[in-house]
Amino acid sequence: MTGRAVRCPVCADRISWEPGAPVSVWDVENSRYETVRVTALAPEKRADLERLAYRQCPNPSGDTAAHYLPATYADHGEPLVIGLVGAPASGKTHLLTAMIRQIHLDGLGAHGITAAPLDFRRHRDFHDDYVRKFEAGGTLSGTDTGVVEAADILLLRGPTGARPVSFFDVAGEDLEDPEARNRATKFLAGTTAVVFVHGSEDPLDTGRPTPRSENRSFHLAVERLLALPDGARLPAVIAVTKSDRLRYVPPADRWLHRGDERTVDAARIRAESRDVFAYLHHVGAGASLRPFEAFTRCALHFVSASGGDAKPVDRGDPAVRHFPRGFRPTRVLEPLVSILAMTGMIAGAEAERVGAP
């Protein structure tokens, strides 16, 4: 290998990123990638083309369908691959949508970090399919099973450099599937940080007075990640979604009332982690605390993607729901800020202590 070694976030293979390799552009008319030779192009034209182009992953293991990465994926610092893990309907997609929307509203600006799409086409699709619908007050359908691609890939630039960040949001059903060849969960082998999503559920809706005695998606993911070299050192976050349901109940009330934070304060994050832990323990959701025991660095946060519960638009059709008071995300970036601190994207003495026991 003469190029830079990077891990493909989709198939999790280590690949050599050769300089000057051909790139592909998306042919809208024919709905296919078209290879373009860039070596003959003037440097500025080449740079401009590459910013919008893709490279096909060679997938040396040959275990994944053809897939493409942004052509500039390896031009920056160490890529981050963040996976969202959680049961079906736990709120992963709503959290990711709210998170990406907040990022683009300069939600990381207080930490000196700016964001841009790395994969413009993917980002546009994500925005059109999810963010726009959410902003209009509509609920989002869950992720289809079998989705193997990153939901969005951003380029975060900050004081410590620029790094691509891929977000994976696969269906909860896939995450609970112990089938070894389930391609949708292959990203776990290449993930560099995980957000474990626990949805705060209402017994009136679930028909159960207490949470399930097991959290299959957490359990499977934790065991698979611990099997990786240095797996226990992966930065992890447990995010309690739909926390707006708890917004007048201790301890969630005091955290949600604070709103979004502007600083990284390790002691504050530890205090919130302890409160989230105590809450999950108190309501009998001990199975969702497994990541805290399993990973050396793990922070816990209360988050609310929408700010409230969705209501049926029409009483005759309870399936079509919306947020009557609009979209009011609260603390949705706290899990990401903790991960960026634990992975060195946010630096400093405080950041170094985030998630540490």
């Binding site: 209402d202 017994p203 007048y248 201790p250 009332h257 832990f277 108190h282 947020f323 008071r325």
Partner: protein, 321 residues
């Protein structure tokens, strides 16, 4: 909302349920900016405060007022639970996610105090003072301030007072919100700086007690002309900054009232076991030894004390006294 509509809402502990709510009549209190109506649920009458679509469109700040009411009401319910004091408005349910968010409160008793207060005899005034200060002591125990104590927000019925309309309430320890300007709000509350203190409301209580004795117009007069007993009681309220101001319980004691706290709960208490477990897991992750049992000094401290005692004995042995 139509008659007898089944509505999803949460109780003071955040538990989701369904109630059938039947509208009865419009309702107004002088201390509330929200839409209100009397409703019936399971044969009982309740006050429903809400923000209608039209009102919310005209004044979005109303949503914040409702939020304050719900936040204070849930906190009071969590602190006083089954021994809920009659002196305070009592939240039953809420739903703030609806297009017309609402809170349901037990029916208030009596009438706004401004009317009956004009007919008070001395004994009524004394009783009113005790009841008012008791209500504020209870609010303070719950870690809250009401934020708008005045004739408009207290009700009176046959010697019993009820504090209602917690639309300006805040939690103690939070940054003070700059609020409306009113003589009933302390200088700290009007300025909006610093952190909310349980004694913030005592200023409003002082103004209200003066009004009780001097009448509405008399409140604007110079305090130097107040009756001596009133000056003695209230000068520490008005002349001292909040950190040196007496509490409602202090004033109640000065008036020979009963300031014994009622039974109340720490809403955080059920979390104690989980917080301790968190610390245990954290120690396991770092390989740190568990802390010694409470009440026993650490072994290295014991060793240090022993060495110091021996040194003292040895030094005494070499000195003439």
């Amino acid at each position: 909302m139509g008659s007898g509509e089944v509505v999803r809402c949460r109780n003071g502990l955040g538990v989701l349920g369904e109630l059938e709510i039947e509208e009865l009549a419009g309702f107004v209190t002088p201390g509330s900016a929200l839409d209100q109506q009397l409703v019936r649920v399971k044969g009982q009458v309740y006050v429903r405060k809400y923000v209608s679509r039209a009102s919310g469109g005209r004044n979005p700040h109303l949503y914040d007022l409702l939020e304050n009411e719900v936040r204070a009401g849930t906190r009071l319910g969590q602190v006083f639970r089954d021994a809920y004091p009659r002196q305070l408005a009592s939240l039953v349910a809420y739903n703030t996610d609806l297009e017309e968010p609402f809170v349901l409160l037990r029916e208030y008793f009596g009438e706004p105090a401004a009317g009956p207060a004009t007919r008070f005899e001395t004994a009524d005034r004394l009783r009113f003072q005790h009841e008012l200060l008791r209500a504020l002591q209870l609010v303070s125990i719950a870690g809250l301030v009401h934020g708008a104590v005045g004739m408009e927000t207290v009700r009176w019925h046959e010697g019993r007072l009820q504090l209602v309309d917690f639309e300006w309430a805040q939690r103690v320890g939070e940054p003070r919100r700059p609020g409306r300007r009113s003589i009933a709000r302390s200088p700290e509350q009007q300025h909006g700086g610093g952190l909310v203190d349980g004694r913030d409301d005592v200023w409003g209580a002082g103004v209200l007690i003066r009004e009780l004795h001097l009448g509405r117009l008399g409140v604007n007069g110079h305090r130097g002309q107040d009756p001596t007993l009133l000056r003695d009681l209230l000068n520490p309220v008005f002349d001292r900054p909040v950190e040196h101001r007496p509490t409602a319980a202090d004033l109640l004691v000065r008036l020979h009232g009963d300031a014994t706290p009622p039974p109340f709960a720490d809403p955080d208490a059920p979390l104690a076991a989980g917080r301790e477990l968190f610390e245990q897991v954290a120690r396991r992750k770092t390989g740190a030894a568990p802390p010694p049992p409470a009440g026993k000094p650490r072994s290295w401290l014991r060793t240090l004390f022993t060495l110091m005692a021996l040194a003292v004995v040895a030094l005494r042995g070499t000195r003439p006294w």
